[in-house]
Every structure is written in structure tokens, then in C-alpha cells.
Symmetry: C2
Subunit: 237 residues, 2 copies
């Protein structure tokens, strides 16, 4: 759809930092993960469209952050087969994204089956082509207890898969720098590292002004409140 083909040319940056692929959704967590990554790496930012409701708004947030970070490489990929499969309120227009506190415990309806594996598979493929040494993902477990593919043991297993499934000379390590932080901790770390939190988008529902009611908006606001700083974006309610 909107895939931008990237030529496989050699990098021309003069930096001698190695390259890291960062999964960058346009949201808060991946923005902070990118800020962590750039301390040691040149950035190759990977963004995926998978049919999520607020796809255009997330893409705009991604592009603004890519410009801010002066990413050495960007790739916008179309994984909309994930949305076509259905099974999630995040991608299925026929299902409501829950607002309010009523969502039952267990797996949230916004869970997209095996999503992180699909995203990481694409990111690692790109890392292998680029000769990158790292893949970063901003996943965190404390605020996402219901998502099976946000747990540390899941990422450990993925790291093993990278070792086995790539060329012997590939040296790609999976980094999950936010895995044990809560949202307030992520906000604090982002501020400390100068991450452009004002350019991030979290709302699952709207693409003009954040709804303030969906689970993602609630979690974000709780994070800023917990960190004791104002959220730079504005909300409907």
C-alpha cells in the first residue's frame, strides 16, 4: 500500500556506531526505546501498517519521530494480512474497542494474535539484510499482563530463534529496554533521554484528538500522572 521501497545500497553515514533496527509504532513506548537505542546505535526505524484503526495517525507520528531522530534508514511495511485475518478489536471495524473500566481480566480484546512475532520477524529480516547488530522493541510486561507476547520468556525464546534462523555471521541481538518498566517509568526515562514525547500517538480510537477513554489513553495518562509531569498532547475528555 504505502510501502516505501528501500534500495539495498551501502550506508553512507560517517558515524561509526553500529546499526539497530527499532520497531517504531508511533507510540510512546517505541519512541522511548528509540531514544535508548540511539545512545549506542545508528537508527533504522521500522514501521508496520497492519490494519489498525488509527493507521494514518500512527504513521504521521512515526514520520515525525523519524525526522526528529535523524534515522539513518526507515522502512514502512504493509502487514495488512494481520488485519484481514481479524480476531482483534484493534483491527476489526465490527468490534468495539473497550472504553471505561469494564474490560474483564485475561487477554484484552485489543490483542492481535501473534502480532509481536510478525513484527519482530520483519524487523529481524531487515536487520539481517542491513547487517544491523540489534533489534529494539518497546514492549513492557507490567502494564500489559494479558498479552502473551509481551512476557520476558517470550522474548528470550525469540532471541534463540534469531540465533538459529539467521546466517551464522549475523550478530543480531534482541533488546527490550523497557520490559520491566511501568508507564510512569517509561515517561521518566523518555524525558531523561530527550525523547520527543509530544510527537507520539497512543489512542486506539481517534486520529485527530486522543479520546482519553480507551485503554491505551488511560494507561498513558496514568503514566504521565505517575511521573508527575503534564502530558504534552491534548484529550477529548
Amino acid at each position: 500500500m504505502f510501502s516505501r521501497k528501500t534500495k539495498n545500497e551501502k550506508r553512507t553515514t560517517v558515524s561509526n556506531k553500529p546499526l539497530a533496527v527499532v520497531l517504531a509504532s508511533g507510540g510512546l513506548d517505541s519512541c522511548v526505546a528509540a531514544a535508548v537505542a540511539r545512545r549506542s546505535f545508528e537508527l533504522a526505524l521500522f514501521h508496520a501498517n497492519y490494519g489498525q484503526r488509527t493507521v494514518a495517525r500512527e504513521l504521521a507520528a512515526f514520520r515525525a519521530q523519524a525526522a526528529f531522530f535523524q534515522a539513518a534508514r526507515i522502512l514502512e511495511a504493509d502487514l495488512d494480512y494481520l488485519g484481514a485475518m481479524g480476531g482483534s478489536s484493534l483491527t476489526d471495524a465490527g468490534r468495539e474497542v473497550p472504553t471505561g473500566e469494564e474490560e474483564p481480566p485475561g487477554i484484552p480484546s485489543t490483542y492481535v494474535p501473534f502480532r509481536n512475532t510478525n513484527l519482530l520477524a520483519a524487523a529481524v529480516a531487515w536487520a539481517e539484510v542491513l547487517g544491523a547488530e540489534a533489534v529494539f522493541i518497546g514492549a513492557n510486561v507490567l502494564d500489559n499482563p494479558g498479552y502473551p507476547d509481551c512476557r520476558p520468556e517470550y522474548f528470550e525464546a525469540f532471541g534463540r530463534l534469531i540465533e538459529l534462523g539467521t546466517r551464522p555471521e549475523s550478530r543480531i541481538r534482541l533488546h527490550t529496554p523497557l520490559i520491566n518498566l511501568d508507564k510512569a517509568g517509561i515517561v521518566r526515562l523518555g524525558l531523561e533521554l530527550g525523547a520527543p514525547l509530544e510527537l507520539t500517538w497512543s489512542c486506539y480510537v481517534n486520529d485527530a484528538r486522543a479520546c482519553g477513554r480507551c485503554s491505551s489513553c488511560r494507561l498513558r495518562r496514568k503514566g504521565f500522572a505517575g511521573a508527575g509531569v503534564p502530558d504534552p498532547i491534548s484529550y477529548e475528555v
Copy 2:
């Protein structure tokens, strides 16, 4: 591009067999894997376009096989970000697919970085949405010693990832029924199970008449010769 959206409706078949997702490329190996799967499962056939050279011919072969197998579900997904990343002679028009015996040992130039992880990630996501109990892949290691993501230990690690990365109630097992067969053994098994080998396409180069010279054509012909049966398709040379 040519994704066919599948509605997430309940299955209406009267069979009481559980459902298996089979990665079906249009080639020989996956056709035989599907023939193995249908002994115990209803088939949900998954086909991916990832920018490979003979994409249209492979799709035609896939559709012919899906009709033959009376698949309960089919999904044609677009993973062309894999091709856009480059890094393989299979997807990169600027690189030559080797013909003849000259390819050096090691990783073949037709290796698509982390391809099987991307394909399996999509197949498992679909299996989870459908409530399928199995994912089949026709990978085999003997004739593909250079591909890191065709080794048994790679698939074991992927099985672990499925356990950790899907809902607790998901019961998806990864099946690699051809993993220890050579091409002659795969041809024999296919004939034994009534697989429609005449509907399969293996050539990496042509889409009208198989070239007979690329590594995939050579391997296929060696397989039929080893099994002592004629190959039902015809070749340029």
C-alpha cells in the same frame, strides 16, 4: 496487492476433523505437506507473495492445488516488504539466480533473510484466529543444508515460541512432516498419498515452462529420477 480478505465467520463444514493451517507455496514440498495434513485435518491453506520472481505462476499453482484439496479456507497474503528489503537473488531483479553447478557452498544466494520466520508468524497468527490446532510447513533439511531456517533445531525453537506467544487456550502444534526426507523421498510420499504433483511449480526463474537449470529445477528433477518416476511437468532443457 491481491490479498483476499477472509471473513472471520464460523466454519460450516460438516467434517469433525480439526483445522490445520498449511504453508502452501505452490511448490512440490508444500503440496506433499498438505497431502500429509489432510489425513488428520481439514485444510486452511496459506499462500504468501513476498516479491519472488515467479509470483504469478506460484499463485496459479497454489490455487489449482487448493481446488484439488477442497481446502476449507484459503488466505493469500502480501508480504512484499520482504522483497522490498532485498538481500536475495530470489526477490531482487538486479541479482542473477544461479544456474548450473557453480554456486559455492554455504548460504545460497536464493536465501531470503528470516523468510521462514515471517511465513510461520503469519500462519500461526491465522491459526490462532481460526482456532486451528496445527501449522504444517514442508521444509526439509537434507536438500537445503545452507538454509539456517530449515534446520530441525530452528523449528523446535519456533514451537517453543508458539507456546509462549499465543493465548493459553491456543493448541497450535508445528508439524514438519518432510524434515528428514530427501527430494526422492518427498516425491514417493506424494505419490503414495495421491498428491497432485502435476499441479506444482518449482522453477525459480520462468513462469511459462520450467527452465530446468536453476537450483530448484535441478533438485526437483533429481528427486523424480531418484524415485524412478517421470516428472509430470515439462522443461525447456
